[in-house]
Amino acid sequence: MNILIYGIVNSVVFALMAVGFTLVYGVSRLPNFAHGGLYILTGFIAWTFFNTVGMNYAVAIVLSLIVTALVGAAIYQFILIRVRGMEASEIIASFAIGLALMEGLRWGGFIKRTYTLPVFVGGTVYIAGTPIDWQRLIIIGGGLAVVAFLWLFTHYTKVGLALRAIAQDERAAMMLGIDSDLSAVIALALGSALAGLAAVAILPLGNISVEAGYNVLTYAIAVCIVGGLGSWPGAVMGAFVLGFAQILTVYFIGAQWQMVVVFLAIILTLILRPSGLFGRQKELEERV
């Protein structure tokens, strides 16, 4: 029972981290390696709003999400738009920006161990004899809500449908008048906000440290590769596969291997089935 509940928690955590990355890649084929940096940026901005400026917690969170979304949109509009289409440059440029964000935060003094965000609701609850704290339950609920929201957004709103159109077939969508660049800006803003949402949900479990940014990027990429780059159900499935793989490894083999398991999953996927579980790329296009 422990395994089931905490496996779900772990998987949803991974899913939250990865959904922003997969959204951006799915819509505009941009690997946003600044994902980790945006995650941490939101955490620290929320902390600053809450502690230094003294705002109400909920307001601080919402504002920090908005700020991160704007940062994401700015990254696209001023930098990534100019290297669109050149994969190498996109990866390098976005990675460099993410690194600049994280190291900038480190230089700005955010290095102590006492930067924490308070949990939304304190307390513990017992499910079938397994104790679990409310924050983790909120994460599960929040994760499912995010997935549901994305599904509804991309199926029933005009903007969402436009994003989905660009994701499916860019040329056809452009012929219908959907602006590719504008979609990319929206996608990147949304993706950054999702990264931020993951941050404010997950960071209260521990503390905010710059090193977590690197780990988040790794997890996001791992989930996306296992699930298939660019596929949204793939990201969710990949998250569950990795989340349970990690928990099962810890439970049965030993906690030492929990990070190695994640990497091995990436390597195995790339060797055996590079398009991942639900990848949209046909094998021929990616194998030479």
Binding site: V83, E87, S89, A100, G104, V260, I267
Partner: protein, 337 residues
Amino acid sequence: MELKARRKERLDRGIKVRTEGIYAVSSLREIAYLMMPRLVLILGLLIVPLVLPNMYWQRVICIACIFALLALAFDFLAEFVGIICLGGALFIGVGGYIAGVSNSWFGLSPALTIPIATLLGAVISTLILLPCLPLRGIYFAIISLMYPLVLPRIIEALHLFGGTDGIAGLATFPNIWVDQYLIIAIVLVAVFALRRLVNEDIGLVLHGIKDNDQAVRASGMSITWYKAQAVFIAAAIGCFAGAYLSHLYGWAGISLFGLDFSILPIAACVLGGPGTLVGPVLGAFILTPLSEMLRAFGALRIVFYCLILVGFIVFKPEGLMNYFQRKYHQFEHWIEV
């Protein structure tokens, strides 16, 4: 009113045209024109250790050369073969550990461990990267970024090779002059050898793979085999740098796989001029001393790198070397359209 438009026109310089083909040796002037940049590079690199103020700066040059080798490997793979290898740290780590283990467990001297590490390391790196060679660029990029993050975890978990403490107390080079001239010589050899290589037949095939791999495949050549060869060469360069590093300070540890070794060469390559194998070397020699001088700023240093990297990659992707080459070989003037 008539609209007068102007545009820039670039023409080859006279002397460049006069040095085409056999006429390159027609007089000293032509020879000098062609030889000058190369001589400046060689003599410059050879003289640098002699003019530096103190030993600390000579050390910095050694580190700069290590980054130059990595940047060279990255440039070769990215521009001449079409493979984006974001994991220079993998080569450094593999080469460094093999040299460290050969020296501390088997007691071999640096003269033996370095060649062993270079070749064995290249073989191992190529083998572990082999499964992703057939895949599209982004997958190789991701997996080459991931390997330097996985391998230290495995070493950590299995407590191999000294675990998180690393292996210290390795043999070092006899004196600072050997340190520097060894690596400078290798940098020069690598630059000129690679430049020669890309003009040979195999270089043509690699370039073809970059441009249109299906066409090469249709000609009956195995793409994976040629890519593997290219990765082997780049890995050999990287592993040499790693083995050299571990004997420079007498230490090997899991931080050999650090992200710094992956990022800085890319920045050096982009700054220096991708596509010209000399550009990355130049970039490394600019960035490393710059980084030392900026040390007072702490983490802001990395922010500078990244901003320079982004700035160059977005606004001036041709880099410095391409710019210089263009200016050297061509002149521009405005003409009316």
